[in-house]
């Protein structure tokens, strides 16, 4: 969109920097530390995820009461609510196997590149490949469903 506020992208950029710095500081950008949590050798990880969830939860709860709309987009403040279906379980389980095998998730992988972890490009390449495979497959099955419906 060309009619975006001039501060829209700068704010996203600054938010990303703080986000990435936090992932570095918490060592979530290091697959070893995530694997140490999953193997019960260091239980620190929940402090990162739930600490971040509490901070964002306060903002998600308060902002709609303070303002009607976000200043840079005019969009209303809404919570992140997604409909539940079987995909949440299937996708969550597939993600769980991948996370448990590699010790890395998408945001942490970007931050990992920033802390110097060139080897993480293997994981990023895999993530793009996986995202492409499911998108290719789901785009095709979506088109097929539409075609079947259209024939009715």
């Amino acid at each position: 969109m060309s009619d975006r506020h001039p501060l829209f992208k700068p704010l996203i950029f600054v938010g990303g920097i703080v986000f990435g710095f936090g992932l570095g500081f918490s060592h979530m950008a290091r697959p070893e530390v995530v694997l140490n949590f999953l193997q019960f050798d260091d239980l620190g990880l929940p402090f990162v995820m739930f600490g971040a969830a509490i901070v964002s939860g306060i903002a998600f709860a308060l902002l709609p009461r303070i303002r009607d709309a976000a200043p840079l987009t005019g969009d209303p403040y809404e919570r992140r609510l997604k409909p539940f279906d079987r995909n949440v379980l299937v996708g969550g389980a597939v993600f769980g196997v991948g996370w448990g095998l590699s010790g890395i998730c998408p945001g942490a992988a970007y931050a990992s590149l920033g802390v110097g972890n060139i080897t993480i490009l293997w994981a990023l390449a895999g993530m793009f490949l996986g995202a492409y495979a499911q998108g290719y497959w789901r785009s095709r099955s979506q088109a097929r469903d539409t075609a079947v419906t259209g024939a009715d």
Binding site: F25, G114, N117
Partner: protein, 185 residues
């Protein structure tokens, strides 16, 4: 109150690196999310970037639905990478120290132009195969550790709570099995 030495030892075993680096890092991750939310109303997750960026090179409908957000998602990811580098240039390099930051002993450190960088010992095949499954799973499951784990849980979304419980449980099982099979690191 006198602290029980057995209890203290148990806590030290469970948290060999303390909890402050995790808690402070988590607060910063939350703060980054909140900054973006205050200005834009967007609860940003990290994994949609994978599909939105694929829309530049593929016209599949699953990717094209993200054309409207692909530019700022690229900016968000660039920020995350730069934030990681800013951490490397300060705390990881020892330029800034704090009692809240525990450097730890994982992986390998190396230096480039005075900045201490870090690289993993985890084997590339684990990263690559795991990455493929992360790419498939986060997109089918409607979110990752930031989308579901931070924004969704912060929204008290039941979908996200179920999503987090699912991937957390499966990841613990997977990591335990992989370790039991003798794969290390």
């Amino acid at each position: 109150m006198v602290a029980d030495p057995v209890l203290l030892q148990a806590v030290a075993d469970l948290f060999p690196n303390g909890i402050s680096r995790y808690a402070v890092g988590g607060l910063l991750v939350g703060l980054g999310t909140v900054l973006i939310y205050i200005g834009t109303g967007i609860p940003a997750g990290a994994s949609t970037f994978l599909e939105s960026t694929l829309s530049y090179v593929s016209d599949q409908s699953r990717f094209q639905q993200y054309v409207g957000s692909r530019d700022w998602r690229l900016v968000f990811t660039a920020g995350i990478i730069l934030g990681g580098l800013a951490f490397a240039a300060t705390f990881q390099s020892g330029l800034v120290t704090s009692s809240l930051y525990e450097p730890g002993t994982t992986g390998q450190l190396y230096e480039v132009a005075g900045v201490t960088l870090w690289t993993t010992d985890v084997q590339p095949w684990r990263l690559f195969v795991g990455g493929i499954l992360v790419g498939i799973g986060t997109r089918i499951g409607k979110g990752c550790t930031s989308g579901h784990g931070v924004c969704g849980v912060g929204s008290a979304s039941k979908t996200s709570l179920v999503g987090v419980m699912t991937f957390l449980t499966v990841a613990i099982g997977t990591a335990q099995v992989v370790a039991a099979l003798g794969v290390s690191p």
